[in-house]
Amino acid sequence: MTTSRLLTLACCLLVAVMSRGAAGATYFVTVAGLGGEPDYEQRFTAAAKDLDKAFRASGASAHVTTLMGKDATRARLTEVLGTVAREAKGDDDFVLVLIGHGTFSGGSGGGEDSGDGYKFNLVGPDVTAAELAGMCDKITSRRQLVVDTTSASGGAVMALRRAGRAVVAATKSGTEKNATVFARYWVEAMQDPAADVDKSDSISAMEAFQYADKKTAAFYESQKRLATEHAVFEDTGRGEPVRTASGNEGNLLSSFTVLRIGASQKATNDPARQQLLLKKEELEQKVDVLKYGKAAMDPDEYKKQLRETLVQLAEVQGELDK
């Protein structure tokens, strides 16, 4: 890796780190759509309730609305998203999670690009991907995350994608039409500390995606069934949906904190510790730069620098914990 590339990377990382530190509100809207059968109805509602609980527990800056049962109508969804559009500010984040069944007709009048082909099943009239995109477009926010966990949700990605919005779908296309299990594991990611793989006391959208994706694959493997869903994401606003981070795809998901857990939120809000936090972020950034430059470094030198930086980081964290 060249020096200039490293510098660029360092700058990008700095942006990412700084954005992690920002303290806007997060608007969460969760919808458990029409189950059709008691079993699905119960499953979707339970998942929505679990998410509701997890989001509410994440702190005062979380604005949580959950629609389920008879309340999960197109009219109510329009109303709720309209409220968010009125209330949310430019430094806020917005998270929309759709749980339930989706349908897709990729024929005339509704291709994956148009967004008319995908419909999220609600009580009463359904809502298309294009309509959902339109409602979300009206919301002023720093960043948006749309997590569509329904069957055929891959068919909605192209209609939903937009700069500043990360879109996650449970299926790779509109043609994966079987009921999905991805939602179960997305919810679990919000509850299981193991999802916080970088131990940052927060769950990023990428961590949640990877957790749910891996658990979904394990589910099919354990059942000795052929997997009928393959989750994807798109977060550049102009790319094709992908299964793993590559190029610019994945940057927004990685920096998008869905949920804060543990002590990190407290420290973020304490002005007395801002200096230490800045120092900590600086060291974290240094670790990131080292990691990205690892392949080009002498292994012993890399280890030495990594050890020194990590020791300093541990000491700063010790101060923060006091």
């Binding site: 193991a194 970088d198 131990k199 354990s222 990691k291 990594l306 020791v311 980081l313 541990a314 010790g318």
Partner: protein, 744 residues
Amino acid sequence: MALALVCGLSGTRGWGATPENCSELRRHGKRVEAQACYEGLVRSTSAAVRAEGYWGIGQFDDANEQFRVALTAPDAGAAVRVRWGMLLHERFNDGDAMGLFKEALERDPKNAQAYLGMARVSAEGFDGKATANALKALSLDPKLYEAHELLAGLALENNDTEYAISETEGALLIAPDAMDAIAVRGAVDLLADRTAEADAWFAKMRAVNAGYGGGYVLVARQLERHYRYEDAMGYYRKAVEAEPKLWAAHSALGIDLMRTGQEEEPRRELELSYTNGYRDAATVNSLRLLDSYKNFVTFKDATTILRMRKEEADLLRPYFDAELHRAIATYQQKYKMTLPVPVQLEVYPDHEDFAVRTMGMPGLGALGVTFGEVVAMDSPSGRKPGEFNWGATLWHEMSHVYILTMTKHRVPRWFTEGLAVHEESVATGRPEWANRLTPDVLAAIRDKKLLPIEKLDKGFVVPEYPAQVIVSYYQAGSICDFIGSKYGEDKLLAMAKAYAEVKTTPEVLQSVLGLSAANFDTAYMDWLGKGAGKTAANFDAWRGRLKGLVEIAKSKDYDAVLKEGEAVRALYPEYVGEANPYEFMAEAWLAKGDKKAAVEALTSYERAGGESPATLKKLAALEEELGNGKAAAATLERILYIYPLRDEELHRRLGALWLAQGNFAGAIRENTAVVAMKPLDKAGAEFSLAQAYYAAGDKAKAEEQVLLALEAAPGFRPAQKLLLQLEKPDKPDAAKSLETKEKR
């Protein structure tokens, strides 16, 4: 004779030579003349004769097509069908071949050749019907010497040497130049280590036709059936030397070479067969298996060669490596011998890959197979959890390695299998891995289907009922249990040594135990009757009451479950399969709030050989809950031998239990397993491993692991504290890490 029939039925010979003439020329080594003869047949006006001609010159597709045409003739009868069937059998299509033989018999129920064809197909498929069909063929045509030849070979496979000899004599009486009979007769002597006599027979064979490789192939197959793979290779080499275009022999040689752990020469031989059109399932699949070896990784040391699939090697290697070395150390001491070369253990996650290793072999293929010092076995990932115990399989196969080496492969099947089953519990010191008394076995004991010891090999090679192979494993194993308990383990070793002197089973029993075979059978059955025999007598009652217990369990009448569960258990304590009383009783005790009693029930299940990972995990959880971490660790340790994959929690839990009990090596092994599973929580796994190393006093490795944990998760507080403890042990924050660790 059949060839003449074809021509006779077709009625339009058109040429002087008959297929029979051509065949006789070839049989006597007149290759050029035979070739010209067959080429002549191709110009016949009869499709059936043309088919014989094409077959003779190796144009099998054309021969097939001509038989198809021949069958459209209004007068096409049984003979054409039989000959077409024989062609299909030769060209690896036994299903259609069998269909044609059956069609032939519908038209001509007394067609001896059709029965001979069916016997040949059965002989290769080990379906137990070959002898009956061959005998039927002979009864219809007493001069069908080929049936005698086949019967001789089948008898020799079953170690029925006398019958084998009499059948070769029968064949030679009809046709003094019956080369396959001569070959089998030579094999009889070869198996008895009478090399000079064997060579004399092979000289006779060469006198008839020096270029006949088929006879050597028959000899090699007999050697394979008797585990003498190295010797078999020698005869396959003789076969290709005598008949370089005998592609079947090239393929068999390649497969045998693979069994000795080689790769280059087998590939050459198999590719030679393949490119020359010999593409039977064994050839094709063996080539595929050789191609797949690029996905395997090999670990070597002074005594072992371990080959595993790359993606599971990191996880499984520590377990297999340790168990393999443990088995070697144990058997080396027990059998008082050191293996001359390293043992090669191949572990296949894809059962189909493993199955390639056992193709064309009778009664094999369940879980593992041994070829001299090469062992191939299923990986635990190749089976559903709870379906098999890889540890027991490994010890079983390793017993074969020693016994085959000790006896120079001169051992009957029943003895090596029986001893291997016996050692699964005795050599391992794990009674829960003992010979399994399954319902199939009980039914066989009840129905008096166990075989006399002299005939026991037949139960493995040519089973007469579906469960007979399993029953024979049980019987052979329990015979060794009986000998070991009544006469002492050293007698088993003495028997192995006696077999090495090429003694027969009656001779071995007489010389080692002082018993005739008949008296041995009586003593064994008496012994069995006092144990498994009693359970067998309960079998029908048990079955009825188990059904009742299932119903009671559904009703949740827990007191009744406990009462009836105990009664059902007592009738057949070894039963640990689906709907076993142990689990019902444990469930009932839990419902009644008595965890201790539930643990007792599940411990009994475990001791009886229960191997459901889910049930054992439930037992471990209860043991831990009741404060018995040592028992919990031992229970989880047992699961490792059944299904150590796809269960991070199992390894994580066991690692923590071992760490808490000061078994640092165990904790390191288990946390290494978690890391090898590439968990989502990589940092957590690396940190736990660092803790285990730290506890074991290996600070260098602890630092290495904690840096890996923090590289993945720089803000991981417990790992930060351990790092400070390692780097700055005098700092106050570092001191806290110890407290934290102790509290975890």
